[in-house]
């Protein structure tokens, strides 16, 4: 055999070449990256030493162990020799993986998003979305604390900090978990499933009906109060309950919507919900909620009742979300204002890509005694100064998870607005977590 390289020709016999290949293969496999070649004697000596070390460790462990019981191994592939049982510890090891552990108890996850958008009647712009610091700490086996601090860009281009959530959570069992503090209300599915982290959402924004109250939304998405939730013994039906009591929402235009420090009235907002996750249809969730509050607004007091219902199916491939809400505002004079809203959203994952479609509808009467106080909404085109009116339209988009912890989203919206020109918008967003 002749082989040449840069003019140099060397004759190598086939047998030698073959032997070299085998030798290279074996040596490369036996040792991933040996720094220096070792003789067989050296290898044997090292292996022998490791066996001796391991025997010593086994002996040490055996000396520490007590209890001669032999455990039956129902599904053993081969018979198992009798051996002492390791004594069970009373405290189960339930520590999560050490991901973003900034202290022995504290776990930190950061979410962020930036992007650009252009709408028909709004100047095209790059935008800082949000920076979300999410903290979680387990104080004991049953008590944990959750905190979330959010930095967002305001309509005047300033960046403000907001304590989005602060909750002390006590989990007695699967049937009873209580939490107290500032929370996201269990009004509908979306508000508790996605909260603020845009990375977790498929779309670039929340459905119109679930816009946050401090961003001009109409439903009470945040509250200060208590929440009790848990399972209801129901076998394969998978029933769960939620009960909430809180200060409710402030509708005075210049005030913070969440009544963090002082409620305007003695009446507390009460919310109750039921949902089911049947074992037979993994990923399916059906539920509803009913909330009532007496609102103190400029003018006569208004009673507010909010009913929501949802049917969602979510697994690692499909995401099908359907939700509807009905809001009734009743004045002491007997006058009623009723608002209805729904959205439906479909998406399917194709490896790292997830195309999606959403259609949403919202319709509030122009004489609603509460929504006329709504501030401008930063989630929608700026020429909409309040939610009063009809708003509906489709959105289509594509989410691309280009790494495990970051996603690029492109979304096209077309909105029809009562009394206004239609809006077409294109939004891009890079959402990430670290």
């Amino acid at each position: 055999m002749q082989t040449g390289f840069a003019g140099l020709t060397v004759r190598v016999s086939p047998a030698i070449c073959f032997a070299l290949c085998v030798l290279l293969t074996l040596s490369a496999h036996a040792q991933q990256s040996p720094s220096t070649p070792m003789t067989a004697d050296e290898v044997n000596r090292q292996l022998l030493q490791r066996v001796i070390d391991l025997e010593a460790k086994v002996k040490q462990l055996e000396e520490k162990q007590t209890g001669p019981a032999v455990i039956p191994l129902a599904a053993a592939a081969t018979p198992v020799a009798p051996a002492p049982v390791v004594p069970a510890l009373e405290t189960p090891e339930v520590e999560p993986p050490t991901v973003n552990e900034v202290a022995p108890r504290l776990k930190l996850v950061v979410f962020g998003d930036v992007g650009a958008q252009g709408y028909t009647h709004v100047p095209d712009t790059f935008e800082f979305g949000s920076l979300d610091l999410f903290m979680r700490a387990r104080l004991s086996e049953k008590v944990s604390v959750l905190g979330e601090v959010l930095f967002t860009a305001e309509s005047d281009n300033s960046i403000s900090a907001d304590v989005e959530r602060l909750l002390l959570i006590y989990r007695q069992s699967d049937y009873f978990t209580a939490s107290i503090g500032r929370m996201h209300t269990w009004v509908g599915y979306y508000n508790t499933a996605f909260n603020k982290g845009e990375f977790l959402e498929t779309t670039t924004d929340r459905p119109f009906m679930y816009a946050f109250d401090d961003e001009g939304g109409v439903l009470p998405m945040q509250d200060v109060g208590v929440n009790v939730t848990g399972k209801i013994p129901s076998g394969k039906l998978g029933l769960n309950y939620v009960i909430e009591a809180g200060n409710g929402r402030d509708w005075y235009p210049s005030d913070e919507p969440a009544q963090n420090n002082q409620d305007r009235n003695n009446s507390k907002a009460i919310n109750g919900g039921l949902f089911m996750r049947p074992d037979r249809f993994s990923g399916l969730q059906l539920g509803f909620s009913i909330r009532h509050d007496n609102l103190t607004v400029p003018g006569p007091a208004v009673g507010e009742t909010i009913v929501t219902a949802h049917a969602v199916f979510v697994n690692s491939t499909w995401e099908i979300l359907n939700e509807a809400a009905f809001v009734r505002h009743s004045e002491a004079t007997g006058e009623l204002a009723e608002t209805s809203a729904f959205y439906t959203q479909f998406s399917r994952r194709f490896r790292a890509y997830r195309p999606y479609f959403r259609y949403q509808y919202f319709n509030a009467p122009s004489d609603d005694p509460v929504y006329i106080n709504a501030s401008s909404n930063t989630d929608v085109p700026l020429n909409i100064t309040s939610f009063v009116g009809r708003f509906n339209g489709p959105s289509v988009g594509l989410r691309w998870d280009f790494t495990e912890h970051s996603a690029l989203k492109l979304q096209y919206d077309r909105f029809s607005l009562r009394g206004l020109d239609s809006e077409n918008g294109l939004t891009s967003q890079v959402a990430f977590t670290f």
Binding site: T3, I71, T78, V85, P92, T433
Partner: protein, 165 residues
């Protein structure tokens, strides 16, 4: 023809390489994955649905009141990928996102503890009365303080067992 002959030793070498790599110990397709619990745990049988709830934090306590403490071998192990796919319908990345979202929504759930080897899974399960884990059937012998549980009434060694690689 002469050129072909000159490549014969190289081809032989490559063939040897392929044979050698193929003969190395690796995950055996179809090998059962044995679900193990602490020997003090009275549970003898679980459904696939139960397993999913236990590993995803939907069921936080055993009937005895002990906290459920799932344990898994670290990401990359073939039995982990197979278990997650069959039981949870998820990939590793899906599960990471699931627990991130669960924590973010305020659920008091703890992700499974990751350990480095099947031996570590067994020792962790043996050391904790509420622990549950899984190992390949070939890694199961030698475990002390642990026991295997049936899945949907079927032993890991029997026909019809659903959790296999």
């Amino acid at each position: 023809m002469k050129n072909f002959k000159s490549f014969t030793p190289v081809l032989c070498g490559l063939a040897m390489l392929a044979l050698f790599l193929g003969a190395t110990p690796s995950a055996r397709a179809g090998e059962a994955i044995v679900v193990v619990v602490n020997s003090a745990n009275p549970v003898e049988n679980l459904t696939l649905g139960d397993l999913k709830k236990l590993f995803l934090g939907d069921k936080g306590r055993w009937d005895t009141g002990k906290a459920v403490a799932p344990v898994m071998v670290v990401a990359g192990a073939p039995e982990r990928a197979a278990f997650l796919k069959i039981v949870c319908g998820m990939s590793d990345a899906d599960m990471g996102k699931y627990f991130m979202q669960a924590a973010f929504t305020g659920k008091s759930v703890t992700p499974p503890k990751d350990v480095g080897s099947a031996a570590a899974v067994k020792s962790n399960v043996a050391a904790s009365p509420g622990a549950i884990g899984f190992v390949k059937a070939s890694d199961f012998p030698g475990g002390t303080g642990i026991k295997a549980v049936k899945i949907d009434g079927v032993d890991a060694g029997d026909a019809g067992y659903k959790i296999k690689m």
